[in-house]
Amino acid sequence: MALENHILKERQRAEQLASTLPPLLIAANRVAATVAQGVHGRPRVGQGETFWQFRRYQTGDSASAIDWRQSGKSQAVFIRETEWEAAQSVWLWRDTSPSMDYQSSDQLQTKADRAALLLLATSSIMMRGGERFTLLGTGIPPASGKSAFNQLSDVVLRENIIAENTPPYEQLPRYAQVILFGDFLSPLPSLSKAIMEIAGHGVAGQMVQVLDPAEETLPFRGRVRFADLESEVNALIGRVEAVRESYMQRLDDHRAGLREIARRAGWGFHVHHTDEPPEKLLLTLYTILAQVVRN
C-alpha cells in the first residue's frame, strides 16, 4: 500500500516536472543561444578533430598519423595535424533540497526552477562549446555533444528524489571545473566541509547562490510564525518589522562566510535572485569559464 502510494506520488511528481520543465529546457537553450556566440578556438596544434595543418613526416611520428592521400600527391610524406581541442570537463550541481521549492510570489519562479534553468542553460552553452560535462553525484562520466545534454537534462528533469543541500563528495580529476547552484542556507561548517573536500584536489569551481528576493528583504509584517520548509523548526516573530534589520544583518554575515569559503577554495562566488534575468548570471559564468579554458 505504502509502496503503491510512493510510486504514484513519484509519477505525479515526474509528470508535474515534465509538464513544467520542457519550457525550462527551451528557455535554457534560448538563454544559452544569446550568450554563446560560436566556438571558442584554441589556435594551436593538438588533439582534436578539426584539421589544422600538414607537415613533413619526422621520425618518431606514428605511422598511423600519415595522411596518405596528401602524401600521394607529392614526393614527401605528410602528417595531418589537427587543432588542439582542450576537452574541459565540467561537473554541475544544483541544490535539490525542499528549501529550494520556494517562491514569494506567483510572478517569480521557484528557486529550484531557477537553479535547474541555470544549470541546463550552462550545460547547453557547454554543449555548443564542445565541452564535456556531467552532473555531480550521478557517477556518469563527462561527455560532450547533444546526447550528453539530453542525458543530463533527462536526469535533471526527471528525478529529484535525493534531497541534498550540500554537494556530494565525488572523486574528480584534477583541473576539473565544478559549478554549484543552490541557496547555501545550510550552516557554514557543513558547507565548508563539503566544498573543501571537492576543492582539495585542485578542482576549480563556481558557487552561485540563488535566492528569492523575499529572503533578502523579509517583507512581512505583524505577528508571524515562520515555518521551515525542510524541518519542523519554526520561529515565532512577534513583530516582523522589528527584526528585519537584524535578519538582513544575519544574512549578510552568512554570505560573507560563504565568500570566505569560496575564497579559500579559490572558487568564484555569485549571487543570483529569482527576480533577475538569468542571462546576466550566464554571461558572467560564460566569461569566467572561457577564461579558464583559454588559460
Binding site: S99, M100, Y102, K111, D183, L185, P187, D212, A214, E215, F220, G222, R223, V224, R225, F226, A227, D228, L229, V233, N234, A235, L236, I237, G238, R239, V240, A242, V243, S246, Y247, R250, L251, H254
Partner: protein, 916 residues
C-alpha cells in the same frame, strides 16, 4: 422584571455582566492576535531573533469596539428584554375581571375582548384562577353576579359569551356582588370599564381596590361612544342632535337616515366643534322619503345609544277621508273625494270611513268634503279632536253655501256664495293671487290655467287677512284656516271636484294638500292594548328578536317607560302601529370616568402588543460575530484576496461582511416580526396564487365598497363551508387590469355604464372565452328586463360585448344543485329573475359565461368589519340572506367545477334529497 419605560427585562440580573466589559476591553487590547503562518526557507536566520515589541497594540480600535458592541448586545439579549411588556400581576388570590357590558361598551367591543383574552392568557401563564363579573343586568333580567372561581380556559368561554347589552350598567348591583365574594389571598382586580362615570363608579373602584390591587382599563376620550338624541320634528325638517360624553377635540359624525326596508335615505355629517358637548343638524327630506324613515344612526358606531328608532310620531300622517257611502259613490269623476284621493295617496296613507271610525283610528288630517253631512255628535267630536292637535280640512260647495255654518268653519261665511263667469255674467273665472310670505303655501308656483268660477265668501272681519292662506286675484279668500287648540281648521272656499273650479285638475292642488298635510302633527298608534315588544335593539344597535325578559308595556305607560332589561329599546306594538323606545333620552348627564381612588392603575385598551426583543438582538449579535470572523480572516490574510492588496482587502472584506450580516440580520428579524404582524400588501402576483373573487370597479365609491364587502362576505362563507379557499376579493379596473386570473367577475351595473374601449371589449371577450364567468347585477329590484336606468345600461353593455342569447335559469339547472339545492336565487331583493346564457355542452365546459340578475346580491352578502351584515334583505328574514349566500356558494362551485354536478354520479343522492 425590571421596567425601563417601554422596555422591561425578564432577567435583569444578567445586566450585571456589563461590569465585565472594561475587563474585556483590556483583554482585547492586550491579547495578541493569533499569528499568521508563513513557510519560509531562511528560518534558520530568524531563529533566536527577539522582536523588541509585540503586534497586538495594532488591533484597530473599531474592531475592538465592534466586539465590545457584540458582547454588550449579547448580555442585553440574555437579560431578555421585552418591548411594551404586559404588566405583571401581583397577589396570591384569584384575578377578578369586572367587565362593563352596558350599552357604551359596544363601541369598541373587539378591543375589549382582546384585552380580556390577554388578561386571561396572563392568568393562565401565572396559573391563577379567575372570577368574572359583569356590571349590566343580563338579558334574562338578572342582576349581575360573580361567577365561580374558574380556570382561565373556562373563563374564556364565559367571556366569549358576554355581549354588550342595550341598557346601562348597574354598578350598585355589582358592588353588592363584590361584597358577597369570598376571596382568599389578595386578589388582583381588573376593571374593563366602558369609560362612563356614574353614581357608583368610584365606590366600585374602592371596593375592588380593597380586594387587592386594581387596574382600570378605560377607553380614550375619542373612543367614548356618542349619543344620538331623538329628533324633534317640525314641518320641514328633522333636527337631530349628537351628544358626546366628554367635550374634546373637533369631531365629525356621519348620520345615516335609513328606511324601514334598510335603504339609505340620506347621509348628513355633523361637525362637533372642539370643547362642545353636542351639535345638531337639520335633515330635510321630501315628504315621501320622510314617511319611510325608520331609523337614524351614527355611521360606524355600533351602540344602542347611537341609534334612534323612529315610529309613527315622526313620520306617519294618515289622512282620513270622511265618506259615509264610500262604496256607493256616484260616477267617479264627479265624486268629491276622487280628486282628493288621487292627490293624497302617493304621499300619505289614506283611510276612508265615517267620522267615528276615522277618529278612533288616529288621523293626522281629516278631510270632510262638502257633500258630507255632519251630525251634532260628529261636530263635537271633530271639534275636540282638532283641539287635541288634529287638522280638519273642509271643502266648500253647494251644501255649505246654502247653510249657515257657524262652528266648524274658520271664518264666518256669507250665505249663497259667489259665481264668476257664468253664461249670464260679464265676469270671468278668477285666477289665484300669488301666495304671501306668511302663507304656508308660499313658494308654490301658480299655474295660469287654474281658475275658480264659484266660491263661498267670507264675511269681512278684522282677522280675515291673518286667517287667509290663499286668495284670488280680487282679494277674496280661497283657503282660510284657524288655529284651534293645538290643531287646525282649514277651509277651502271651493269644491274638491271640478264643479266650481278646475283647481282640482291642476298640479297645484296636490301641492296644496301636501303643504296642508305637513302642517298636521304626526300621530302614533294609540290604543288600550298593551304594547308587546316587536323588535329590540341589541347591544350593537341592531334590530333583533326581543330578549326573553322583555315584556309588554301598557300603552298609557309607554311615554314614561325607561330602558331596562324588561323594556329593551326597540319597537313595540304591532307591525302596523309601532312605537319606538329609544335608549338615548333615558341617559341624562353622562360624563367620563375620571374620579378614581388613588393607587389605581389606569390604562387604555389600545396597547401595543408585547414584543420579545431577544431573538432580534441575538440575530444582530450573530451577524456581528460573523462579520468579525470574516474581518479577522481578512486581517490574517487567510481570505483568497488575490484581486485586492492587503489594505483594500480588509476594507472590502469589512464592507462585504457588513453587507452580509445586515442581510442576515434583516432576514432573521423580518422572520421574527412576521410572526406578529400580517402581510398587508397584495401583490399582483398574488392574484395568480389564490382564488380571488373579483368585482368591477364602477367608479362610484359607495357601490365599490358594497361590492367589496359583499364579496368579502361571500369569501368568508366559502371558506367556512366549502373547500374553496377564497382569498380577499379584488376590485378590477376594466380599463387597466388583466382579468385572466379570476373565475368570476361580479359586475354591478350602474345607470352610467362604463365606456369600454375596443381593447377592453376584446379583453373581456378573452376573459369569457378563457373560461371566465361574469355575473351582471342591475341591483334594481324587478328583473333585468325592467326599464330602470341600470337595465338600459345593461342593454347597452350587452350590445357592446356581444352577449349571447339569454334564458331564465331552468329549474333543473346545475346552478340549483351545484352545492346546495336551491329553487330561487334571492339577493337583497327576492323576486328578480335570473337569466343565464344558453350554453352549449362543448363551450366553456358547459358553464354559462354570462349570468344576469337584479337581486343586488353583493348587498345581501356584504358584511362590515365586525362580520355583521350591512344591509337588511327585502322582504326580509335571515333565511333570505342565507339563501343569498347559498346562491353565491352555488355560483362559485358552478364556475369552478363546471358541469361536474351534472354528472350522473350524484343523481341518486340528489334524487333522494329532493324526494325528502
Amino acid at each position: 422584571m425590571l421596567a425601563l419605560g417601554p422596555i422591561a427585562f425578564v432577567a435583569p440580573w444578567m445586566l450585571t455582566a456589563l461590569v465585565l466589559l472594561p475587563a474585556l476591553w483590556w483583554l482585547l487590547r492586550v491579547t495578541p492576535p493569533s499569528s499568521r503562518r508563513i513557510r519560509f526557507p531562511a528560518v534558520r536566520m530568524l531563529l533566536g531573533l527577539e522582536s523588541p515589541e509585540e503586534t497586538p497594540s495594532k488591533t484597530p480600535l473599531w474592531l475592538v469596539l465592534l466586539r465590545l458592541t457584540a458582547t454588550s448586545l449579547l448580555i442585553l439579549a440574555l437579560a431578555h428584554p421585552l418591548l411594551n411588556p404586559s404588566s405583571d400581576y401581583t397577589g396570591t388570590g384569584p384575578m377578578i375581571l369586572v367587565v362593563d357590558d352596558g350599552w357604551a361598551a359596544a363601541r369598541d367591543w373587539p378591543a375589549r375582548q382582546n384585552a380580556t383574552k390577554q388578561l386571561l392568557d396572563q392568568a393562565e401563564h401565572s396559573n391563577r384562577a379567575v372570577i368574572i363579573l359583569t356590571t349590566a343586568a343580563s338579558e334574562q333580567g338578572l342582576l349581575p353576579v360573580a361567577s365561580n372561581t374558574l380556570q382561565p380556559s373556562a373563563a374564556q368561554k364565559l367571556v366569549d359569551a358576554i355581549k354588550p347589552k342595550p341598557w346601562p350598567t348597574n354598578r350598585s348591583a355589582t358592588i353588592k356582588a363584590i361584597e358577597s365574594l369570598e376571596i382568599t389571598g389578595s386578589a388582583s382586580a381588573v376593571w374593563l370599564s366602558d369609560g362612563l362615570d356614574g353614581p357608583d363608579a368610584a365606590e366600585l373602584a374602592e371596593h375592588l381596590q380593597r380586594l387587592g390591587s386594581l387596574r382600570v382599563l378605560r377607553p380614550e376620550t375619542a373612543a367614548l361612544p356618542r349619543l344620538l338624541l331623538p329628533p324633534s320634528a317640525n314641518e320641514q325638517s328633522l333636527d337631530i342632535t349628537v351628544r358626546r360624553i366628554e367635550p374634546g377635540a373637533k369631531d365629525v359624525a356621519a348620520l345615516r337616515a335609513i328606511a324601514r326596508d334598510g335603504r339609505l335615505l340620506a347621509r348628513e355629517t355633523v361637525a362637533i366643534p372642539a370643547d362642545v358637548r353636542e351639535a345638531s343638524v337639520s335633515l330635510t327630506l321630501p315628504a315621501e322619503m320622510r314617511n319611510e324613515l325608520a331609523r337614524l344612526e351614527i355611521e360606524g358606531e355600533s351602540t344602542a345609544g347611537a341609534v334612534v328608532l323612529l315610529d309613527e310620531r315622526w313620520r306617519r300622517r294618515p289622512i282620513g277621508l270622511v265618506s259615509d257611502n264610500a262604496a256607493a259613490g256616484g260616477p267617479s269623476l264627479l265624486n268629491e273625494l276622487y280628486f282628493i284621493d288621487r292627490a293624497v295617496s302617493p304621499f300619505s296613507e289614506v283611510r276612508k270611513g265615517d267620522i267615528s271610525q276615522l277618529l278612533d283610528g288616529g288621523n293626522a288630517v281629516t278631510i270632510v268634503p262638502d257633500g258630507q253631512p255632519l251630525g251634532v255628535e260628529d261636530r263635537k267630536r271633530l271639534d275636540s279632536w282638532i283641539r287635541e292637535g288634529g287638522l280638519l280640512l273642509r271643502f266648500a260647495g253647494p251644501r255649505i253655501a246654502q247653510r249657515t255654518e257657524r262652528d266648524l268653519v274658520p271664518v264666518v261665511l256669507r250665505r249663497g256664495g259667489r259665481a264668476l263667469g257664468g253664461s249670464m255674467q260679464w265676469t270671468t273665472p278668477a285666477r289665484l293671487a300669488p301666495f304671501e310670505a306668511s302663507s304656508p303655501f308660499f313658494g308654490l308656483v301658480i299655474p295660469d290655467d287654474a281658475t275658480v268660477s264659484r266660491q263661498v265668501l267670507a264675511e269681512p272681519s278684522l282677522d280675515l287677512g291673518q286667517k287667509t292662506w290663499a286668495k284670488l286675484v280680487d282679494g277674496t279668500p280661497l283657503v282660510t284656516a284657524e288655529r284651534r287648540g293645538e290643531g287646525w281648521l282649514v277651509l277651502v272656499h271651493t269644491t274638491s271636484n271640478t264643479e266650481w273650479s278646475n283647481l282640482a285638475l291642476s298640479g297645484l292642488f296636490v301641492e296644496l294638500l301636501q303643504r296642508i298635510a305637513r302642517m298636521s302633527r304626526g300621530v302614533a298608534g294609540e290604543g288600550a292594548l298593551p304594547l308587546a315588544p316587536l323588535d329590540s335593539l341589541d347591544g350593537f344597535g341592531r334590530l333583533a328578536p326581543p330578549p326573553p325578559a322583555a315584556r309588554s308595556i301598557a300603552a298609557a305607560d309607554f311615554a314614561s317607560s325607561i330602558v331596562s332589561p324588561q323594556t329593551p329599546p326597540g319597537f313595540y306594538g304591532t307591525d302596523e302601529t309601532r312605537r319606538a323606545l329609544n335608549l338615548a333620552p333615558d341617559l341624562h348627564e353622562l360624563s367620563a370616568l375620571t374620579d378614581l381612588p388613588p393607587g389605581v392603575v389606569v390604562e387604555g385598551y389600545e396597547r401595543a402588543s408585547e414584543m420579545d426583543l431577544k431573538p432580534t438582538i441575538l440575530a444582530i449579535v450573530l451577524a456581528i460575530l460573523l462579520a468579525d470572523t470574516v474581518i479577522a480572516l481578512a486581517m490574517r490574510g487567510l481570505l483568497p484576496l488575490s484581486l485586492f492588496r492587503r489594505r483594500e482587502g480588509i476594507a472590502s472584506a469589512f464592507a462585504g461582511s457588513l453587507v452580509a450580516s445586515a442581510v442576515l440580520s434583516t432576514l432573521i428579524t423580518t422572520n421574527a416580526q412576521a410572526q406578529t404582524s400580517t402581510l398587508s400588501e397584495q401583490a399582483g402576483l398574488d392574484a395568480t396564487l389564490n382564488t380571488h373573487l373579483a368585482y368591477v370597479l364602477t367608479g362610484s365609491q359607495a357601490i365599490d365598497d358594497v361590492s367589496h364587502a359583499g364579496l368579502e362576505g361571500l369569501s368568508l362563507a366559502l371558506n367556512l363551508r366549502t373547500a374553496i379557499e377564497a382569498a380577499p376579493p379584488i376590485g378590477v379596473d376594466l380599463s387597466v387590469d388583466e382579468l385572466a386570473f379570476f373565475p368570476l367577475l361580479y359586475w354591478p351595473i350602474t345607470a352610467r355604464p362604463p365606456s369600454l374601449s375596443l381593447q377592453v371589449v376584446s379583453r373581456i371577450e378573452r376573459f369569457l372565452s378563457g373560461g371566465g364567468t361574469i355575473l351582471f347585477d342591475t341591483r334594481n329590484q324587478g328583473g333585468a328586463s325592467g326599464l330602470g336606468p341600470s337595465g338600459r345600461a345593461l342593454g347597452d353593455l350587452a350590445r357592446r360585448l356581444g352577449v349571447p342569447q339569454l334564458t331564465p335559469v331552468p329549474a333543473d339547472h346545475v346552478l340549483t344543485k351545484s352545492f346546495y339545492l336551491l329553487q330561487d336565487f334571492p339577493g337583497r331583493w327576492a323576486d328578480g329573475r335570473v337569466w343565464i346564457e344558453v350554453s352549449g355542452e362543448n363551450v366553456n365546459d358547459g358553464v354559462a359565461r354570462i349570468i344576469v340578475g337584479s337581486n343586488d346580491w353583493a348587498s345581501a352578502w356584504a358584511i362590515d368589519q365586525s362580520g355583521q351584515p350591512m344591509f337588511p334583505v327585502v322582504p326580509g328574514g335571515e333565511r333570505q340572506r342565507e339563501m343569498a349566500l347559498r346562491f353565491g356558494v352555488n355560483l362559485l362551485m358552478y364556475t369552478l367545477t363546471g358541469n361536474y354536478k351534472t354528472d350522473q354520479v350524484h343523481v341518486p343522492a340528489i334524487l333522494e334529497r329532493l324526494g325528502q
